[in-house]
Amino acid sequence: MSDKKFGFSIHSDRQHNLDLADKRLYRKIALMEPSLQRCIFCGGCASTCTASAFTQMSFRLISLHLRRGNLKEVKSYASKCMLCGKCTMVCPRDINIRHVIVLLKKEFSGNEF
């Protein structure tokens, strides 16, 4: 909403502040599926992903946003996954992606972000 007197509002800052990032979920998942830590963000998962053909799904971005504490994004991406497991087959770092998603889906069931 623009301020009535001045005709504009102060833009919000897009700059990410890593000091304030909530990394608890990342740590929790990494404890249960340590292979997640090996991710090199190559995007192999996203390019083979069935869901990504029709939605914004990208495990590469889940992996990133989880580390940055952007849980809204993580939840939204994770909800698109159909658990087909193709990503797990192509991952060059042999991350059990399917398991990571299952853990995330469990985490988010009943929790609204």
């Binding site: 700059q15 990410h16 502040n17 830590q37 991710c39 963000f41 590469r60 580390r67 770092r93």
Partner: protein, 348 residues
Amino acid sequence: MNFVCNTDMTERLKKKVLIIGAGIAGLEAAVQLMNLNYDVEVIEKENFYGGHVKQWFKTFPDFQDTKPLIDLIAGKPDNLNIHFGSVPGFAEEQNGIFHVITDKNLHIHADAVLISTGFELFDAHRKEEYGYGIFNHVITNADLESFFQNGFPETGKLSLRFGFIHCVGSRDAKAGNLYCSKVCCATAVKQAIEVRQHFPDSEVYCFYMDMRMFGKQYEELFQQAQEKYGIHFVRARLSEVNQNFDQSLLIKVEDTLTSKPMKMSLDYIVLMSGMEPSVSSQSIATLFGIALDNEGFIKVSKPFIAENITEKKGLFVAGTATGPKTITETLNDARSAALAVHQYLNSK
């Protein structure tokens, strides 16, 4: 062809090889050439041998102490002839004999000269926006090695946040160095692990543009850093460093994989200064009248097939004087240079 010294040669008057620089390249070449029965003299500008490696705590990827490594190289011949604290001041070649006079007025007549003048670490002061020499806890990879060797300054804090900045002075037109310095990625991973070992409660971030883990066991080391040591890797290049009110350091980067500007506070910033042509290489090139390549390293006569041969007959080069190299590569290069010298002198 048999390269091992033969009896014919031992009976001849020994030919002399002058080696300039007693870093690991010069040392390794000296040892090889002595084994081939040449008379070797080494001049070294510092008062110690081992060069940069001596100032390094441990190697990558296997965390070996550097000291035994240098002793292993230099310790082979007991009679290694090194003139410390000397640099060549004059050089002249006549009929294939090099006449070199050092700044200490030592005259050396050599049948061949091997330049192993190494590299210089990029002077991090030049990246003014990184605040080296301005903010107390902005240090370089070399400073960190010396902390490992001599102890860390008291911080009064246990859970320290470290940020390793790759490509400092490398891949940077503003710094005048467009090339990749090659060893810094692996060094950063090694040092990041050492920091985690040294400060178990610390949090460590590496800011990289590309992880160039090209060598044997390097990628494994990278993976270990992520998994075993929980080191975070962020694809970003440092844009600037500022100091927060609480004296911690504030960095600004772009989190390029999410396309967002990002800031974070750190307790220590470690700048991975890259390898630059050494000043000694440049002055020696002038002295002997040989050319430098575009980057300022000593120019080799033919890439691939004559990497140790300069454009001047009888003048050879080994190690990082021709470009960034790992320890393994430097030692191999030194052996290759020794062979090139041997072939030259043998056919002279």
